[in-house]
């Protein structure tokens, strides 16, 4: 009785796999556009690690260098830690972003569209990977400016770069879960902070574990931020590398295995 044509279900099903990628890229486009409209976020998320670099390099660096193995300048020890800290702090933006999309009703709208279920999470992760890649690249340049030197060649540095982005990808599931669970941008921001303290500060990102009390050393030596920082260090400073990178990648895989299903389950339950 009306001129409405119902789409053939077979066609929809056949396209599903390619649309998942296409939809994720559309959402990523949207998030990157949004980031470009809020340059202050980029500026501050860049200034903050730069301040860390200056602070640790010039304020604490002198006092800390004594604890380092012979022949390693503190700045070379520090910069890999800064890179890991940068991607870890950077990935908290995902929690804020997801909470924001939930609060404004955008996620509800997306759920009524004929788009892939995975695209909202995947698109945001892709956009944040792009942003973090830029910030890490910038931090490498900042490192060079304050005296950081690589000792294992450019390919290894590139490997370190990829490892950092892999770690950020893994963390994005953790923070997506937090953002969707909290559901409010400010609360999400607040919720990520204790996690930062436990993960980033109680780690070997800025100082070697040898100076810490025994109980803390046991933790700091065996947690993801430390293991990724140690792997990045091995990649840029040289020395035994394969084992450390393997441990770092295992952490990444473990985090994804645990948190990706949690984030997806959370996403299905909201709205």
């Amino acid at each position: 009785m009306s001129a409405v044509t119902i789409p053939t279900p077979g066609v929809v099903t056949g396209h599903r796999r390619s649309t998942a990628v296409q939809d994720a890229l559309s959402v990523a486009w949207r998030n990157l556009k949004g980031m470009s409209r809020t340059p202050q976020v980029i500026v501050f998320s860049t200034i903050q690690p730069i301040i860390f670099v200056l602070n640790f390099r010039f304020v604490f660096g002198g006092a800390l260098s004594g604890a380092l193995p012979q022949g390693v300048p503190y700045v070379d020890f520090l910069m890999p830690g800064i890179f890991v800290q940068t991607v870890t702090f950077g990935s908290t933006a995902i929690a804020v972003g997801m909470a924001n999309d939930l609060g404004t009703g955008l996620i509800e709208r997306f759920r009524s569209l004929p788009m892939a279920r995975s695209a909202v999470l995947a698109g945001r992760t892709i956009a944040d990977l792009v942003r973090n890649a830029l910030v890490v690249a910038l931090m490498i340049l900042v490192g060079f400016a304050v005296g950081f030197r690589i000792h294992a060649g450019v390919p290894a540095l590139f490997g370190a770069f990829l490892l950092l982005l892999t770690f950020m990808f893994a963390l994005s599931w953790v923070f997506a879960t937090i953002g969707l669970a909290v559901g409010d941008p400010e609360a999400a921001q607040a919720a990520t902070f204790p996690l930062m303290a436990v993960l980033v500060f109680a780690s070997t990102a800025f100082v070697p574990a040898a100076t810490m009390p025994g109980w803390l050393q046991a933790y700091a030596d065996h947690q993801p931020v430390s293991d990724v920082a140690d792997a990045v260090r091995a990649l840029v400073l040289g020395g035994p590398t394969a084992g450390r990178v393997a441990i770092a990648l295992l952490w990444c895989a473990g985090i994804v295995v645990v948190f990706a299903p949690l984030a997806v389950a959370r996403y299905r339950r909201v709205a």
């Binding site: 009306s2 409405v4 119902i6 949207r30 949004g34 009524s112």
Partner: protein, 336 residues
Amino acid sequence: MSENAIEAVGLVKRFRDVVAVDGVDIAVPTGTILGLLGPNGAGKTTIVRILTTILRPDAGRATILGLDVAERPDDVRTIIGLAGQYAAVDDNLTGRENLILMGRLTHQPKAAHTVRAAELLDQFRLDDAADRPVRTYSGGMRRRLDLAAALVHRPPILFLDEPTTGLDPKGRQDLWGVIEGLVADGTTLLLTTQYLEEADRLADRIAVVDHGQVIAEGTATELKARLGSTIVTVELGDGVDVDGLKGTLASFGPVTLGDERRSIDVKVGDGSRALLEIVRVLDRDAVAVEGVTVRSPSLDDVFLELTGHTAVADGADAADAADAADNTDLDQESLR
């Protein structure tokens, strides 16, 4: 194909042990508008979420153009458009970019994205603001963009969840005009509202929803006729023995006191005759009266009759209450 574009039978949705939707049947013939009218927390939004595949019903089934929402959600999503009560558009994108994003996510041909966006921006009088970030838009502009975003893929079935909640009277009138234009195109529309005036003006048929159930359904005229009577309102002057008069008038029909005991409503069977007799009584007893009016029952009266409470507690605070409700709707729905 079924005559009804939207059909639901026995829908039930529970949130933990709370029943938000409690056995709802809905039928919307193709090309018509159904208004779901009810107070906040009545379950309207939950019904819309089920029909738009966002929530799965715990019981019952619903079809859109014959497609089951629970069994074929992907197919249903290609033929529906949803504009929720949040004005769910991206603040950081421009109006145009928001519409292009919708074009991409609904898988329109690539060449059509910008053309369709321009068309809708023009239709919704947003062309001047098209390339400004949405965060600079007024409330009314956001709602218009939100509605435009729901139309990008030309869905034959449209769901509008409280499209004018929180808008000022001008913005509301504005949006009503736009919605009327849509239906002239033959779109089937399900609209939820807590404003009786809105349902009366826009909807072909109205389903009154309360506590998760449809408690009455019909055209506005049919619903008003269900009261089967006329209302005579006596506006009182100063120094009237209100209780005494209420007792006297009770002989004509059920009486209710108005705000601040300044008026009395009498529900009567035959309006004109009752009016004459009431005026005679008032004159005989020398009651100070500021006015006497006869009116057909409004949807407000219908609502009061059907539910025992008014749709919106206080007209003046309605917009505020609706705004507050906007933010807490999910909680309310799940707490109910």
